[in-house]
């Protein structure tokens, strides 16, 4: 998708460039967030949406590895299901404007929205990093299975179990990717969201995340 014009960089080189770009975007957004006054919840959500869209697009060369699932999960956990659904839909549509829009966008929005709802529902129990990482890994599988439902439009329901079975290595990659992003991003994200939260959810009560 993102070519190197006349230079032959190769897939690993392109991936390195993409990761560098994503790091740059993440660093710039982090610096910008530090300059925001507290309570700018929707501004933070917009910044997370930008990071989610870029994260998904730039990490496309890696199979099923992207930060969106963890972003949506943590937003659901800290800000509630409604905001997580909004973020999930914006990221799904925004990234697919670049990667290709179709009926799968609906399933991706649905899948990530469910992950956000799961985060909101399970928030009282997600009080430590291992728990967040565990539910993030499970969310990857949940999301993939929701996406797999899209094959019902083209193949019969009898093919669904075989399709899900064939996709297990990709589910595993998504789960491991989520474990990675949760380990590195969950604590800073929670800290950021606590600073900007305008609605304090009774369920979460801003329980600090401990390692």
């Amino acid at each position: 998708m993102l070519g190197a014009h006349a230079i032959d960089i190769g897939p690993v080189g392109m991936l390195a460039i993409n990761i560098a770009l994503l790091s740059l975007v993440g660093w710039a957004l982090l610096r910008a967030e530090r300059g925001l006054p507290d309570g700018r919840e929707w501004t933070l959500l917009a910044m997370l949406a930008i990071f989610g869209i870029f994260g998904r697009v730039l990490l496309e060369p890696l199979p099923n590895i992207q930060p969106v699932t963890v972003l949506v999960l943590v937003v659901g956990m800290q800000m509630g299901a409604k905001r997580a659904i909004a973020l999930a839909t914006v990221i799904a549509l925004g990234s697919n404007l670049i990667m290709g829009h179709g009926i799968w966008t609906l399933y991706q929005a649905l899948g990530w929205s469910l992950v956000g709802c799961l985060g909101a529902y399970a928030a009282p129990h997600l009080t430590s990093m291992p728990r967040i990482a565990g539910i993030a890994a499970l969310s990857g599988v949940l999301f993939d299975w929701v996406i797999s439902l899209s094959i019902l439009h083209t193949l019969g329901s009898g093919m669904l179990p075989a399709y899900i079975l064939a996709g297990i290595p990709y589910d595993m990659l998504h789960a491991l990717g989520n474990l990675f992003f949760a380990a590195w991003l969950a604590s800073p994200l929670v800290e950021m969201m606590e600073r900007h939260q305008t609605v304090h959810l009774e369920a979460t009560e801003n329980v600090p995340v401990t390692a």
């Binding site: 590895i65 595993m172 990659l173 491991l176 380990a183």
Partner: protein
């Protein structure tokens, strides 16, 4: 598969080492980073092994790949069916499916007979070239002995099986290795056969 077990043992051992080496604050970061890198590096191998493990036989009478594993759809395949009573010692329990790298990943016990198929091949344009390479992939178990005459290439034995050892051969009757291309009797010999990108060759003994 043995490579996968080795990889799994290596990964788990190193992950455990990282876990116990790092401080509690950094354990999850270190282990998740290591596991992710290992998963990305080994993803092609894992996907291939998983595809083999979960492969199913195609059930479509109108398809030349009918009865073959679905991971070979669109690929070239060579099958050898051994006659009753002449099962090759390595393939005596059914029909074996051997992938392009020599991995014997599936055995069809319900197959009416015994034999072996070598598949997942691509890029071959001539029948004999693919046949000889396929037998190499099977590590000599399907070794082909052939002669060349004015009529072209004549297959004498496959996997050490000579049709005349199992049927009466005389001046009035005989047996031979018969070639089928995409489920139809081949109109030319293996030496003259031009392949499609998803050709299926099948050898079986027939009499005249």
């Amino acid at each position: 598969m043995s490579q996968l077990y080795g990889l799994a043992i290596f990964t788990v051992s190193l992950a455990a080492l990282i876990w116990f080496t790092l401080s509690s604050d950094n354990r999850l970061k270190g282990v998740s980073t290591f596991l992710l890198v290992m998963a990305v590096i080994s993803a092609p191998t894992l996907n291939q092994e998983w595809a083999r493990m979960t492969s199913e036989l195609i059930d479509d009478e109108g398809n030349s790949h009918n009865g073959l594993p679905d991971i070979w759809l669109g690929k070239q395949v060579v099958c050898v069916d051994f006659p009753v009573g002449a099962a090759h010692s390595d393939y005596a329990d059914g029909r074996h499916y051997i992938d392009y790298d020599g991995t014997d990943f599936m055995t069809e016990m319900e197959f009416n007979g015994t034999g072996a198929c070598v598949g997942g091949l691509s890029g071959y344009e001539d029948g004999l070239g693919m046949m000889l390479n396929a037998t190499d992939i099977a590590e000599g178990d399907l070794e082909v002995v052939y002669s060349t005459s004015q009529y072209g290439v004549m297959i004498e034995t496959i996997g050490g099986v000579d049709p005349c050892d199992y049927h009466t051969c005389s001046s009035t009757q005989g047996a031979y290795w018969s070639l089928y291309h995409n489920n139809a009797w081949a109109m030319v010999g293996i030496g003259d056969l031009v392949l499609d990108e998803d050709s299926v060759l099948e050898w079986k003994i027939e009499t005249w």
